[in-house]
């Protein structure tokens, strides 16, 4: 079976490398981008199966990247999992409006990261996102709900 290709968009060099090693070890092909501009150009040339996207980025932050993806016919159907160090309450609502496949806060638990990535690749709806319409744009809240379903 062909390996799934994941684009990691992360400006922190060390974390980008760490995430790449983690995803490679789990059997994925990995391509990298370290700013918002590259996030769009690399996505066009590489056509990844999934994007793991940071929000605080130079050269156009993650929200700008999401907007560019949603405006582009070639990129609009690629699932995006957001991984951010920002206050979920400040960004999750805005991120969810783009219909992202997952929302994680740094440092994300590896098992959870891989679970969210696998689910997104299978095209399954994100549990937290399905409640986002009625729920508040509060990461902790959604995440707690989500976790409680796995307990």
């Amino acid at each position: 079976m062909k390996k799934s290709k994941i684009l990691i968009v992360e400006d922190d060099d060390d974390l980008r490398k760490g995430l790449a090693l983690r995803l490679k070890a789990s059997g994925y092909d990995v391509v990298l981008a370290s700013d918002g501009l590259a996030a769009v150009s690399v996505a066009r040339t590489e056509q990844p199966d999934l994007v793991l996207l940071d929000i605080g980025l130079p050269g156009g932050n993650g929200l700008t990247v999401l907007r560019r993806y949603s405006d582009c016919a070639a990129l609009m159907f690629i699932p995006v999992v957001v991984l951010t160090g920002r206050d979920p309450m400040a960004v999750e609502g805005a991120v969810r409006e783009f219909g992202v496949a997952g929302f994680l806060t740094k440092p994300a638990d590896n098992a959870e990261l891989l679970r969210v990535v696998e689910r997104a690749l299978r095209g399954e709806p994100d549990l937290a996102a399905s409640t986002a319409a009625t729920d508040s744009p509060d990461g902790l809240r959604s995440r707690n709900r989500q976790e409680s379903r796995f307990v």
Binding site: D12, L15, A25, D87, K106, L140, S148
Partner: protein, 381 residues
């Protein structure tokens, strides 16, 4: 003062009012307007609208007298400075009004125009100084919360990198390990988890302080919530050799649903359980129980740990408070957990406290939550 001063003169005697007005016009620079009301009712109505910089208040009015006049006027608009104008015979009452928060008083019979002008000018200036001080304090608190949020954000990237690389080694992705190395890395991973928790706590505290935590109450089955929380603590407690029990026997029928936010209540329970396990040593136990009475649902978390010093019973709920000795044996954390618990419980209409039983070992935290409003329960079922 650059802006014209708009005054409200509350005086029922037309001749006194005319005299005071002429004094003010003569002695006070920059008078914009002097409005007049002859009754308490009229004064309260006028102060309900904006545009008054200071009030000159006669306490003896047709519909009110003495300190009561002052209290009502002050309560109707707490930011406007009040200067009492009083006759010689009630100077003592005027002094009492100053003790209650009036800026100053002048005696109608003896005051010169410049005395009246000075009293009004100083009253307004003093009020401005106080307001400026309060504004600066508010700005400093806002800056502190912004700083906490920023720090929390900035710490996450390096922590996430540390977490990723240590876990890559720990789970042998980067090559096989011996038992000793595996144990070392497991300890590193546990500490990374604690650090992540603390950074998250900083964020939650900033939110609680700035009042942006939303409470969404719904009918909540507290026992299921307790069982879910206890499940998540089982492995940490087992590892430490602490037994965690849930007492589901609530005594006297089923536990009614609580009217609370299940997510916030979970945060409260997690904090209390985290503390209970943290402060209980191996061989000890933690017991969670629930009961109810006419005031609502009551949840108790009891441990057999070292307990809380009686003098700290109230203070442990204060922000940043940590008991002496917290730093000696292991880690007491940032002193945020119980503060957040209290805020979250009180915002849901409940109460939280430390139960004191001198005979019992350990600490017993209890909190209440309101039960479903009967009318509402009928509507939702």
């Amino acid at each position: 003062m650059t802006n014209a001063i708009n005054l409200l003169l509350v005086e029922d005697s037309p001749s006194d009012a005319r005299l005071l007005e002429s004094y003010l016009q003569e002695g006070l620079l920059g008078v914009g307007s002097i409005e007049r009301e002859a009754t308490l009712e009229g004064a309260l109505a006028r102060l309900g609208r904006d545009g008054i910089d200071a009030v000159l208040l006669d306490l003896g009015l047709p519909d009110s007298s003495g300190l009561d006049t002052f209290r009502q006027v002050a309560a109707s608009n707490p930011t406007v400075p009040i200067v009492i104008v009083s006759g010689l015979n009630d100077a003592r009452v005027a002094e009492e009004a100053v003790a209650l928060g009036a800026q100053d008083y002048v005696l109608k019979d003896t005051a010169a125009p410049k005395d009246l002008a000075r009293a009004v000018t100083y009253a307004i200036r003093r009020r401005q100084v106080i307001e400026d001080g309060e504004r600066v304090k508010r700005e400093q608190l806002d800056a502190k919360d912004r700083f906490l949020s920023h720090v929390s954000h900035e710490l996450r990237a390096p922590l996430a990198a540390v977490h990723q690389f240590v876990s890559l080694v720990a789970d042998e992705t980067a090559g096989p390990l011996g038992d000793e190395q595996r144990e070392c890395l497991a300890i590193a991973m546990r500490n990374i988890g604690q650090l992540a928790q603390m950074i998250g706590d900083l964020l939650v505290m900033g939110r609680v302080n700035s009042g942006v935590v939303e409470i969404r109450a719904e009918n909540t089955h507290i026992l299921s919530l307790i069982e879910e929380c206890v499940t998540t603590f089982k492995s940490a407690a087992d590892e430490k050799g602490v037994n965690v029990d849930v007492d589901t026997d609530v005594g006297g029928g089923a536990l009614p649903d609580a009217w609370c936010d299940p997510v916030r209540t979970t945060e409260v329970l997690n904090n209390l359980l985290d503390n209970a396990v943290k402060f209980t040593s191996s061989g000890g136990s933690v017991a969670v129980s629930a009961s109810h009475d006419e005031r609502g649902v009551r949840v108790a978390v009891q441990d057999t740990g070292r307990g809380v010093q009686p003098e700290n019973r109230e203070r442990i709920f204060e922000q940043y408070f940590r008991e002496a000795g917290d730093g000696d044996s292991g880690r007491g954390g940032l002193g945020i957990g119980l503060f957040v618990c209290r805020e979250l419980v009180e915002r849901q209409g409940g109460r939280i406290w430390l139960e004191v039983d001198p005979a019992a070992r350990g600490a017993r935290f209890e909190f209440t939550l309101p039960t479903v409003v009967p009318a509402l329960a009928g509507a939702t079922r």
